[in-house]
Amino acid sequence: GESVGLHLPTLSVQEGDNSIINCAYSNSASDYFIWYKQESGKGPQFIIDIRSNMDKRQGQRVTVLLNKTVKHLSLQIAATQPGDSAVYFCAENMDSGAGSYQLTFGKGTKLSVIP
């Protein structure tokens, strides 16, 4: 099975409210995590990343929190806008050995913004 999963498959948020998308991972040795946004028919778009030596990282309207104790990631989107409607994936960069890493994705959370 996949080591990265998401708690909620869908999330509906009122425009202007904050959104929180959660993600659990199981490989405690993973050292790098990435959130991607994917719109219909497009490839995943990088939103924000965080390394395991950090607990929090902020970008423009987005914040990622990493809790290594419970192996949990969250993506917070401030003042959610209609353009934020998409599927969001967290990805875990896992060491496959011999210096090789691979990204492992969960199934994704669909965010719908209600105007």
């Binding site: 028919g41 497009k42 490839g43 995943p44 496959s96 011999a98 090789s100 990204l103 994705f105 994704g108």
Partner: protein, 111 residues
Amino acid sequence: DAGVTQSPTHLIKTRGQQVTLRCSPKSGHDTVSWYQQALGQGPQFIFQYYEEEERQRGNFPDRFSGHQFPNYSSELNVNALLLGDSALYLCASSRNNYGYTFGSGTRLTVV
């Protein structure tokens, strides 16, 4: 600075045929990874190429093969296509196992 470029964007093939998908990595990136994304699912890792060699492979059969060229571009080949191979095929480039950047993908339909 061009990002990751994939071609073609869409493709329709018949069962049993073979297909080749192409990927040009982002400038400065030397590693290419391929992913298969079925409808409504997250991307699944197929394999990764670095220094023209397959460095890591996911749980995919030998019908899936690839190649990386000296200019870091890459091809994904799938032989003996099955209906279940219909998916969005994504290429991601990176450097030093960071900065994974995805292309827009190739939508493969097998009929």
